[in-house]
């Protein structure tokens, strides 16, 4: 608000200097604004229309889908969603929920502990540990695909939920530790010091001070990790063979061949898998953006 005054003044100065009337500046601004809004609205339409089309086409019968690509469904077939759910999406969905929840909880627990150890203690070798953990951010999962596949077979976890959960946790930890560590560094030390004087050990400090005060960043980490795990495709394709264990992105691939001609049900399946993330993003936008903002400082 305080910034408004100088703006008005500078406009006045400019007008006096250039001699242009107040009206023409207004007209120019109006043209600029309208032009931009038209451009952005078109762009927004290109972005959002396919997603709306996805949701609506999921409600159409096959004939309706072929003949009326553009129109609203002739008859709103909610049973497509039910059919997609029963055709296997329901099962894949629950697998995804389980794997995502276990992975996120593990990442948050181990990640916040490691971030605490790396931000609240001074010890030799600390920087080396930090560098090792953070360089996990740089490694492309493709490189690990074959060795992990063999490794998981060797330890007998291939084709189980753990074949996905354990690699997911390992690959998500570095980014969460990076975010939580920088946040924990900004928590003032005074509280902790008085707690230690009162006889709290380091575990209690972690439980009763760091975790409660770090809640905002922990929430951001939960969202970003959850999104990455929910959406992951390549590991889920390779490390699990049994279709009863499939997560939703790979399960949808399988359904594509199975439901080859039934587009309505196929689209309903896609909508079911996309919806939770879209809703989570819209509801928790603040936490999402905080995570991105903290993470993009160094990339």
């Amino acid at each position: 608000m305080a910034n408004n005054n100088p703006v008005v003044k500078t406009n006045e100065i400019k007008e006096i200097r250039t001699g242009s009337s107040k009206l023409s500046l207004k007209v120019k601004n109006r043209i600029f604004q309208t032009g931009v809004l038209i451009w952005f609205s078109l762009f927004a339409l290109v972005i959002i229309y396919p997603i709306i089309w996805l949701g609506l086409s999921g409600l159409k019968s096959n004939a309706d889908f072929f003949l009326n690509t553009w129109r609203l469904p002739e008859e709103w077939l909610w049973k497509n969603y039910k059919a997609a759910w029963d055709a296997g999406i329901g099962h894949f969905f629950l697998n995804s929920v389980f794997i995502t929840v276990v992975s996120v909880v593990t990442v948050l627990l181990l990640g916040s502990m490691a971030a605490y150890g790396l931000s609240r203690f001074q010890f030799k070798g600390q920087n080396i540990l930090l560098v090792i953990i953070l360089s996990g951010l740089m490694l492309a999962p493709q490189v690990s695909l074959i060795p992990l596949y063999k490794l998981l077979q060797a330890i007998g976890l291939y084709n189980t939920y753990w074949a996905l959960i354990l690699p997911y946790v390992a690959f998500q930890l570095p980014f969460s530790i990076f975010l939580m560590r920088s946040y924990f560094l900004s928590i003032p030390k005074e509280l902790e010091e008085s707690a230690i004087i009162d006889g709290c050990n380091s575990w209690k400090v972690y439980r009763h001070i760091i975790v409660p005060m770090g809640k905002p960043i922990i929430a951001s980490c939960a969202l970003l990790t959850g999104m990455n795990v929910w959406n992951e495709f390549m590991f889920a394709l390779v490390f699990v063979e049994d279709s009863a264990l499939r997560t939703i992105p790979v399960g949808l691939m399988n359904l594509r061949s199975q439901l080859n001609t039934n587009f309505g049900i196929q689209l309903a399946g896609l909508a079911i898998s996309a919806l939770p993330m879209i809703i989570a993003y819209i509801v928790f936008q603040k936490q999402f953006v905080r995570g991105l903002s903290a993470g993009s400082v160094k990339g």
Binding site: F40, Y49, M113, A114, F123, L137, Q142
Partner: protein, 295 residues
């Protein structure tokens, strides 16, 4: 002395579980991959034959490898133009004082595709590109441009562009968000000074926004290029490297070698190439990040 010792032991206990996870599931596989690439082996037969660097020699004679490199590079260049170039312009316009009150709506909408699984987006666009029932040709026909209605994923000359286009649709809004967050950290005084000098919007963008955003633009550039060399999901889902091998990228080439042709050693050499490329780019990014911190 004893106090520091105990202190460091506690710290390591807190760090250890995460560290073990990362060492075992992230670092060990990298080492194993290098080792694996020196042998001829397949997934069901226990026997391994040492072949040294033979597979690397073969890789550099494989025309598909160069198709893949070309496609990954094409991915990188087009993504730089759209996500970094156009993304930056969109962010700057959204920050303009005449547009800013519409910003929350647009940035939310633009960001939405990036929260959806790439595999799901790939399956969706495969339907949108469908020559008969797809929305893309539907739009073109409605606009009276029937001759533009092509078989987008079925033509080996254009399929890779159709696949790359989907990534731009999905991730331009993500970059816009990152750029907006960085722009909002630029001190307002700089813009105020420009206004007093009567600088135009374009000049303000060129002489204030761009130099202030230098670090973020470089980071965005590196993230985008790394992403282009890690591409797998969308190609696998939409074209699986076809038609022919025209849309093959390093990721799909690795997958095909490993899990279709069961040539694990050869697939591992492709893994090594991805490792070298992404690591080099990441080190560049790290250097940029460091130099930015000092400023």
């Amino acid at each position: 002395m004893t106090k520091t010792f105990r202190n460091s032991r506690t710290a390591i206990l807190f760090i250890l579980p995460a560290l073990l996870f990362i060492l075992f599931f992230v670092f060990l596989p990298i080492v194993l991959n290098l080792y694996n690439s020196l042998f001829r082996w397949n997934s069901f037969d226990a026997g391994r034959v040492f072949v040294g660097l033979e597979y690397y020699g073969r890789l550099f004679k494989d025309p598909i490898f160069f198709t893949a490199l070309k496609n990954n590079s094409l991915y990188a260049v087009i993504s730089l133009v759209f996500q970094v170039g156009i993304g930056l312009i969109i962010a700057a316009v959204l920050e303009d004082k005449l547009i800013r009150r519409f910003q929350p709506f647009f940035r939310t909408v633009f960001f939405i595709p990036s929260v959806i699984s790439i595999a799901v987006v790939g399956l969706l666009w495969q339907l949108l590109y469908n020559p008969e029932v797809g929305l893309v040709n539907g739009v073109l026909k409605t606009l009276g441009q029937s001759e533009w209605a092509l078989s987008w994923l079925g033509d080996s000359k254009i399929a890779i562009y159709a696949v790359v286009a989907v990534s731009q649709w999905q991730y331009t809004g993500y970059m816009v968000m990152l750029f907006l967050l960085a722009m909002q950290k630029i001190p307002f005084e700089y813009y105020e000074a420009a206004m007093i000098d009567g600088a135009s919007k374009i000049k303000t963008f060129l002489y204030i926004t761009l130099p202030q955003m230098k670090e973020m633009i470089l980071v965005g550039t590196v993230i985008t290029v790394i992403g282009a060399f890690k591409v797998f999901d969308e190609v696998y889902v939409m074209t699986n490297g076809g038609p022919g091998r025209s849309t093959e990228v390093l990721g799909t080439m690795l997958y095909r070698a490993a899990f279709r042709n069961d040539e694990m050693g050869y697939a591992s050499t492709i893994g090594t190439i991805i490792f070298v490329v992404t690591l080099t780019l990441s080190l560049i990014q790290l250097k940029i990040g460091k130099s930015g911190q000092e400023v």
